[in-house]
């Protein structure tokens, strides 16, 4: 077992990507994720990799498209406004069925917004990364260890399903340091017979493209993609259940919000309140069935978010609007305190004792 070291979340992502075999990083600086680029700039030249600071986020995502076409592991990272710029490229990656890893260390928005932590790109990540019918695997780490673990996992899933994995983190996760062990048994990359690596005059040309002018062909590619998505929804859901066994109040939270919520749950349990938490680790696919099952016992769902309730919609859908719903949130770079979450729990339990 590797020694634990203290690392920033951003650095853990970068090192884990290298361990996963990523040798191509393209990016453009933006707070609060610039440590990823800085780390790559330092490490990549030493291991025969390529670090390139592109002229813009748009250039960087299209460089990702280029390397992904050759079948190599490739990534870019940015923060909220930069991810919006990459939207077109995300759609093209999906249309061409290319695997890639994209990191969004979110900051407050909309617009240029601020630089403090946020989770307000939930809709963008899970529902509308760009135009057209497509999904991304959206992974939401809640510790520095998970920043690293989900990076490795993200590359593996991206290759397996020929699609984009997005790490949806936030400024706190990127900036904080925690002990991390980078101890991975990275699976070998699957064969990629579709990659554009040169025919050597031995095979037909491979073409990587997202343009299908015949509507029936385009429809077919969409339907095939959605078959894959259905399979993923059945097989790749990840979540953590915390004190859910007897929970009558269920908190839904991911990332930093789930860390704050844990403190509040510990305090509420001391008062005898039966509260637990479902923490989605994959935001897409969303742990729908887990929430549905929780609704059999829980009367109230409290969504703790750094957004105006973007995830709450998915919680309502998953539980078919059977319960009572509460949004406990702060936005714009603010983070709810454990006391605010505790107050929401007490209120749901019928007031403070």
């Amino acid at each position: 077992m590797a020694d634990k070291v203290l690392m920033k979340g951003n650095e853990a992502i970068a090192e884990a990507a290298i361990i996963a075999g990523c040798r191509h990083y393209f990016g453009y600086p933006i707070t609060p994720q610039t440590e990823i680029a800085a780390y790559m700039a330092k490490r990549m030249p030493k291991i025969g990799g390529c670090f390139l600071q592109a002229e813009s986020e748009i250039a960087a995502i299209n460089m990702v498209y280029g390397v992904a076409s050759t079948g190599l592991r490739v990534m870019t990272s940015s923060s909220s406004p930069g991810i919006s710029l990459k939207g077109e490229g995300l759609s093209y990656l999906a249309g061409a069925d290319l695997p890639s890893l994209i990191v969004n260390v979110q900051r407050g928005g909309p617009g240029l917004g601020g630089i403090q932590p946020s989770q307000s790109d939930y809709f963008q990540a899970t529902k509308a990364g760009g135009h057209g019918d497509f999904r991304m695997l959206v992974l939401a780490p809640a510790s520095v260890q998970e920043m690293a673990d989900l990076t490795v996992k993200g590359f593996e899933l991206a290759d397996k399903y020929r699609m984009t994995s997005m790490i949806l983190a936030d400024g706190t996760m990127g900036q904080m340091m925690e002990p991390v062990a980078l101890d991975y048994d990275v699976k070998p990359m699957p064969e990629k017979p579709w990659a554009t690596t040169g025919t050597k005059m031995e095979r037909e040309h491979n073409i990587v493209n997202s343009l299908f002018l015949q509507p029936d062909a385009l429809e077919k590619s969409n339907l095939e993609r959605y078959d894959r998505y259905s399979y993923i929804e059945e097989n790749e859901v990840m979540y953590e259940e915390y004190m859910m066994d007897d929970a009558e109040i269920c908190i839904a939270a991911f990332g930093i919000a789930s860390r704050v919520a844990k403190n509040a749950i510990v305090e509420a349990r001391k008062q005898g309140i039966k509260v637990g938490m479902i923490r989605p680790i994959t935001l897409w696919p969303f742990p729908t069935k887990v929430f549905e099952k929780a609704a059999e016992k829980a009367h109230t769902f409290i969504s703790v978010e750094l957004s105006m309730g973007q995830m709450l919609e998915d919680v309502k859908l998953a539980t078919k609007c059977k319960g009572e719903y509460v949004l406990c949130n702060r936005v714009g770079g603010m983070i709810p305190s454990p006391e605010e979450v505790l107050a929401a729990i007490e209120k749901a339990n019928g007031g403070a004792k």
Binding site: L6, Q175, P179, R259, V260, N263, V266, S337
Partner: protein
């Protein structure tokens, strides 16, 4: 089931982040659960810089310290800003060479140490932060040459190994004052 929440605050450049990092590493070498979270952004340049450090026997929940058990104030704006947030029964360490006023709270323990003056008197002007760390470990327990050395070796890169001794000396000065 002990958890200690530290808040270090001062000007950018005083080594606030480093001293927090040292305590986090010290916790790590002692098999504790730890987290370290810096303030980031414009406030770092000239205003108050701060970092939250949690050292615990159990997994760390929120890494954000809003009610510290221990506050280290290395300038007046930091003391003004955070004095009221310290938990009742908590501890405040004040760099008394930079902060002239006394702490108003009466429900906390206060240690005044002229760290910046001690640092310049001992030809180590950049190590006021580690003098305070020495004082913290002395007052709160956990000061042993062995554990301090182990943590220093983790936090100071091999390239800067020549800095080990002077950091150690700074902490000794803090512990003896």
């Amino acid at each position: 089931m002990a958890t200690t929440q530290y808040l270090f605050a001062g000007f950018g450049g005083q080594g606030i982040l480093f001293s927090g990092k040292f305590l986090a590493y010290k916790g790590l070498t002692e098999d504790k659960q730890v987290s370290w979270l810096p303030s980031y952004g414009p406030e770092m340049r000239g205003g108050t810089a701060s970092c939250s450090v949690i050292v615990s026997d159990t997994p760390v929940g929120s890494p954000i310290v809003s009610k510290p058990d221990v506050l280290v104030a290395m300038n007046l704006p930091s003391l003004d800003k955070y004095e009221d947030s310290v938990k009742a029964g908590g501890v405040i360490f004040v760099d008394s060479s930079l902060i002239e006023r006394k702490v108003n709270r009466t429900d906390v323990t206060v240690h005044y140490i002229p760290a910046t003056k001690l640092a310049s008197d001992n030809q180590m002007p950049t190590l006021a932060n580690m003098i305070i760390v020495g004082k913290i470990l002395k007052e709160l327990g956990g000061y042993s040459e062995e554990s301090v050395n182990a943590a220093l070796k983790k936090v100071i890169s091999a390239k800067r190994a020549d800095m080990l001794e002077i950091n150690l000396k700074a902490m000794q000065i803090g512990a003896n004052n």
